[in-house]
C-alpha cells in the first residue's frame, strides 16, 4: 500500500521539458506495471511512458497539453483506490522540476487564482506583496487586496499596483456612489458594449477589432465585474443597470448587448429613447426560459462554491454549439479563456444580477413595440438558453433578425466573423 510518482522523464541530456500529450488510462483506472500510462512529446517525437508500478491512476497533476520541465510530478499511482492519499503532501515530496520554465499556462493559472483571491477579500489573501507595492498602494490609496499579483508565486509587485492604478482611472461614476469600469478605445460615434450575466467586457474581445474602425467603442463592466463596484444590495435591477449604463455612456450611443446585456440595452432604450441611436441584441430574451433560470442558479452556486475553472467547465455545454464542443483544441482554449473571464467577476454579485433578471423577466414584452430605433437581433441556431430571441425581433417594429448556424448562446465568441459583419452593417445603417 503506497503511492508511486509519475514524473516528466528526462530522456536525453538535452531534454529540459516535455509536453503531456495524453493520459490513456482514465482517472481512477487500473494500470499494470510497464503498461503505457502516459504519452509525452519531446523534441517533436511522441513517446509512450510505461508505468513504474501497478496500481490505479489516483491523481493527475498535469493535464494533457501542458509543457513542464523534466522532473515535474505529473501523476500519482496508488495500489488501491480507497487507501489514504494526500495529493498536496505527495506533490511536496515528489515534484522536482529541473528548472523553472516560464510557460504561458501557469501565468494564466495565476491570473485566475489571484482573480479568485479578489473575491475572497483581504482577510484570506494568500498572495504576498512586495514592500514597494505596498508603499505605492498606500500612497495612491489603493486596497492591496483587490490588486492581482503577477510576480513569482503570485506576488503583487510595484508594476501590478501601477497597472491597477491605471485601470482605476477607467472607473466612471454613474450615480449613487457607484462607479463602473469603462474600457474605451477608438474614436467616432460611441458604441457601448454590454456583457451578459456573469461576464465582463472581454466577452466582446473578438468584436472590438471590427468595431473600433470609425467608432468609439466602450465596453462597460457591470457591477461586480472587473473593477466595477459591487454594492451590497439584494437585487441589481435591470432598470438600475440601464440607468447606470446610460450614465457610463455619457451621450447618445449605439448599444450592443448580449443576453442579460441585451435586456439592459432594451431597458435603456425604453428609459431614454433620445440617448440610444440603435440596438444590437445578441441572444436576447424578454421572458427568461426555465432552463435559463436553472442554469443561472447552478452558475451562482458553482461560482460561490468552486473555482473559476470548475465554473467554466460547468457552463461550457450550455454556452457553445456541438461543433465547438467536438473540437478538443478549441474547447480547451475556450475553457481557459472562459475561466479567466469568470474569475474577474465577483461571485457575490451573481445572485444580485440573477434576482434582477428574474424580476425583469416578462415585464417588457408588450413595450417592445414602442422601440423606435433600428434594432438588430442576432441568435444562435443551437442556443439552449434564450429560445425567444425570434419573438423579440418580431415584437420590434424596425428590426432585423439573423440566426447564425453552428452557434450556441455564446454566438459572438463562436462565430465572430458573421456577428461582426452583421454589426458593422447594422451600425452603418444597413
Amino acid at each position: 500500500m503506497s503511492a508511486t510518482a509519475v514524473g516528466m522523464p528526462k530522456l536525453g541530456m538535452t531534454m529540459t521539458e516535455g509536453r503531456v500529450v495524453a493520459w490513456p488510462v482514465p482517472l481512477g483506472g487500473r494500470v499494470e506495471k510497464d503498461a503505457v500510462v502516459l504519452v509525452i512529446e519531446s523534441e517533436k517525437a511522441e513517446i509512450e511512458i510505461e508505468s513504474p508500478a501497478a496500481g490505479h491512476l489516483r491523481h493527475v497533476y498535469v493535464p494533457a497539453d501542458r509543457t513542464v520541465p523534466c522532473g515535474t510530478l505529473l501523476a500519482a499511482l496508488t495500489t488501491t483506490m480507497d487507501e489514504a492519499f494526500d495529493a498536496d503532501a505527495f506533490r511536496r515530496d515528489h515534484d522536482r522540476p529541473e528548472r523553472t520554465v516560464v510557460t504561458p499556462a501557469p501565468r494564466a493559472d495565476r491570473a485566475v487564482a489571484s482573480g479568485a483571491a479578489r473575491q475572497d477579500g483581504a482577510a484570506s489573501r494568500a498572495a504576498p506583496i512586495t514592500p514597494a507595492a505596498r508603499a505605492l498602494a498606500r500612497d495612491l490609496g489603493i486596497d492591496v487586496a483587490v490588486v492581482a499579483g503577477t510576480g513569482p508565486q503570485g506576488r503583487v509587485t510595484r508594476e501590478d499596483v501601477e497597472a491597477h492604478a491605471a485601470a482605476r482611472e477607467r472607473l466612471v461614476p454613474v450615480g449613487g456612489g457607484v462607479s463602473l469600469e469603462v474600457l474605451g478605445q477608438g474614436s467616432g460615434e460611441p458604441v457601448v458594449l454590454i456583457p451578459g450575466f456573469g461576464s465582463d467586457g472581454s466577452a466582446f474581445a473578438l468584436q472590438v477589432p471590427a468595431l473600433v474602425a470609425g467608432h468609439r467603442v466602450l465596453a462597460v463592466n457591470p457591477r461586480g465585474a472587473g473593477l466595477s463596484d459591487a454594492p451590497d444590495e439584494p437585487v441589481y435591477t435591470v432598470a438600475t443597470a440601464a440607468r447606470e449604463l446610460l450614465a457610463a455612456a455619457g451621450g447618445p450611443a449605439h448599444l450592443v448587448g448580449a443576453s442579460l446585456g441585451a435586456a439592459v440595452a432594451m431597458e435603456a432604450a425604453l428609459q431614454g429613447p433620445e440617448r440610444v441611436r440603435s440596438l444590437a441584441l445578441i441572444t436576447p430574451f424578454v421572458s427568461a426560459s426555465p432552463r435559463l433560470l436553472a442554469v443561472l442558479e447552478s452558475w451562482c452556486r458553482v461560482a460561490t462554491e468552486s473555482s473559476a475553472e470548475t465554473l467554466a467547465a460547468t457552463l461550457l455545454p450550455w454556452l457553445f454549439s456541438t461543433d465547438h464542443l467536438a473540437d478538443d483544441r478549441a474547447r480547451g482554449r475556450t475553457l481557459r479563456g472562459l475561466a479567466q473571464m469568470l474569475a474577474r467577476v465577483a461571485p457575490s454579485s451573481l445572485a444580485r444580477h440573477a434576482a434582477g433578471l428574474r424580476v425583469w423577466s416578462g415585464t417588457r414584452a408588450s413595450d417592445l413595440q414602442r422601440l423606435r430605433v433600428p434594432v438588430l437581433v442576432v441568435a444562435g441556431s443551437e442556443d439552449l438558453l434564450t429560445p425567444d430571441a425570434r419573438d423579440v425581433a418580431d415584437a420590434i417594429p424596425d428590426s432585423q433578425f439573423l440566426a447564425i448556424g453552428d452557434a450556441g448562446h455564446a454566438v459572438a465568441l463562436e462565430q465572430p466573423e458573421t456577428v461582426n459583419a452583421a454589426l458593422v452593417r447594422h451600425l452603418r445603417g444597413r
Binding site: 503577477t150 513569482p152 506576488r155
Partner: protein
C-alpha cells in the same frame, strides 16, 4: 594613449608615486624588498613581494624605506603601528589576509583604537595591503575573503578594487588617509589587465561606482565579483533584462546612499560576494536594503555567495565554490518570475 596594465603593475605604480611624493611613506613586509633584502648580498630584486607588487621599490627608494621583515606578522604590523604613530606613513604587506589570525592585535586593539583613546590627538596613517579571495588553487589557508573581519572593526577602513585603475587610485587614497586602511587585493584579478591613467590620482574612499547602468535589477558586487556581475548582466541583457551593476569599492566607509539609490531605481537587489554568507558583506548590504530601503523593495533581496565551508583545494570544487555569472543570472531570473 590608453595604457593596459595588470592590477599588480597598477599597485606597483601607486607605491612608486606614494614613495616619491611623500618622504614619510615606507614599505615593509615579508619579501617586499627581496629574499632577505640585502643589497650587500646582491639579492635585492629576487622577489618584490609574492605577486611582484613591490618590485623595483628598493632600487628606487633604498633599503631604509623598503624593508623586508622576519616572518612575524604580529611583529611587523606592531612595528608599522608604532611607525605610523610617530610620524611615518607605513604601507605594510600582509601576504595573505588568511594570516590575520596571528596579527590581529596590532590592528584590532592598537591601530583601530588609538585615535579614539587619545581623544583625537594621535593618528595611525597605516595602510595594510593584503591579498584576498580564491581562484588561484591556493587551498583553505590562502584563499579566504576575510574582509568582513576588518570591515566589522570600528576604526579601520577596508577597500577592495575591482580593476587596475581603481587599484592605483584607491591605494594612493588609502596611503594618504590619516586612518588605518586595509587594502584588499583580489588574487584572481592581479594579472588581469585594464586601462590605468598615468600619474598621480586618487579614488575617494567610501564612494561606490556604477559599473553598468540598468533598470530591472541591481547587482551589488565588489572586488573579483564585479566581473562576475558584469558577465551576468551581459547574459541577462540578451534575455531583455536590464541589470545595473554597482561596484562598492569601499566596504568601510560603505556608500549606503549609492546602494539605496540603485535599490530605489530597480526595486530588486542581488548582492554578490565570494565570501561565505554568515556575518558577511552580502548580509550586511541586504540588511541595509531591508532596513533603510524597505519601501523601495519590489522583490526579495538575494545573496549569491560562497557556501559556509572552507575554500576547497580541489580545482573542480573551488570553481563550484565561487559565485559564477550563471548563478547570478539564474538568481535574477528567479526574482523576475
Amino acid at each position: 594613449m590608453s595604457r593596459q596594465l595588470p592590477m599588480v603593475a597598477a599597485i606597483n605604480e601607486a607605491l612608486h608615486v606614494a614613495l616619491a611624493s611623500d618622504p614619510t611613506v615606507i614599505v615593509l613586509g615579508e619579501d617586499v624588498a627581496g629574499g632577505g633584502g640585502r643589497q650587500d648580498q646582491g639579492i635585492e630584486e629576487a622577489w618584490g613581494g609574492i605577486m611582484g607588487a613591490t618590485k623595483g621599490l628598493i632600487k628606487a627608494f633604498g633599503a631604509e624605506r623598503v624593508r623586508d621583515t622576519p616572518i612575524s606578522e604580529m611583529g611587523f604590523l606592531g612595528a608599522a603601528v608604532g611607525a605610523a604613530l610617530t610620524g611615518l606613513r607605513p604601507v605594510a604587506e600582509l601576504m595573505f589576509i588568511d594570516f590575520i589570525g596571528v596579527s590581529l592585535d596590532p590592528l584590532l586593539n592598537q591601530a583601530a583604537k588609538l585615535r579614539y583613546m587619545f581623544g583625537g590627538k594621535a593618528k595611525v596613517p597605516l595602510t595594510v595591503r593584503t591579498s584576498t579571495g580564491a581562484g588561484l588553487r591556493s587551498a583553505a589557508q590562502h584563499s579566504q575573503s576575510l574582509y568582513n573581519i576588518t570591515t566589522s572593526i570600528p576604526g579601520l577602513k577596508t577597500v577592495i578594487p575591482s580593476n587596475p585603475a581603481d587599484a592605483k587610485g584607491l591605494l594612493l587614497a588609502a596611503i594618504r588617509d590619516d586612518d588605518p586602511v586595509v587594502f584588499c587585493e583580489p588574487k584572481s584579478l592581479m594579472f588581469k589587465k585594464g586601462e590605468v591613467p598615468e600619474g598621480d590620482y586618487m579614488v575617494p574612499l567610501g564612494k561606490a561606482a556604477l559599473a553598468r547602468e540598468g533598470g530591472d535589477v541591481s547587482l551589488v558586487a565588489f572586488g573579483a565579483m564585479v566581473d562576475v556581475a558584469l558577465a551576468a548582466a551581459a547574459a541577462l541583457a540578451e534575455e531583455g533584462v536590464s541589470a545595473e551593476v554597482l561596484d562598492l569599492r569601499s566596504l568601510q566607509p560603505l556608500d549606503e546612499a549609492a546602494i539605496l539609490a540603485t535599490l530605489a531605481k530597480t526595486g530588486k537587489v542581488v548582492v554578490v560576494d565570494e565570501a561565505p554568507p554568515r556575518c558577511g558583506i552580502a548580509s550586511d548590504v541586504a540588511a541595509l536594503c531591508v532596513d533603510a530601503g524597505f519601501d523601495s523593495l519590489n522583490g526579495p533581496v538575494r545573496r549569491v555567495t560562497a557556501p559556509h565551508t572552507p575554500v576547497p583545494f580541489s580545482a573542480v570544487l573551488e570553481d563550484a565554490y565561487r559565485p559564477t555569472a550563471a548563478r547570478v543570472a539564474e538568481t535574477v531570473r528567479g526574482m523576475l518570475g
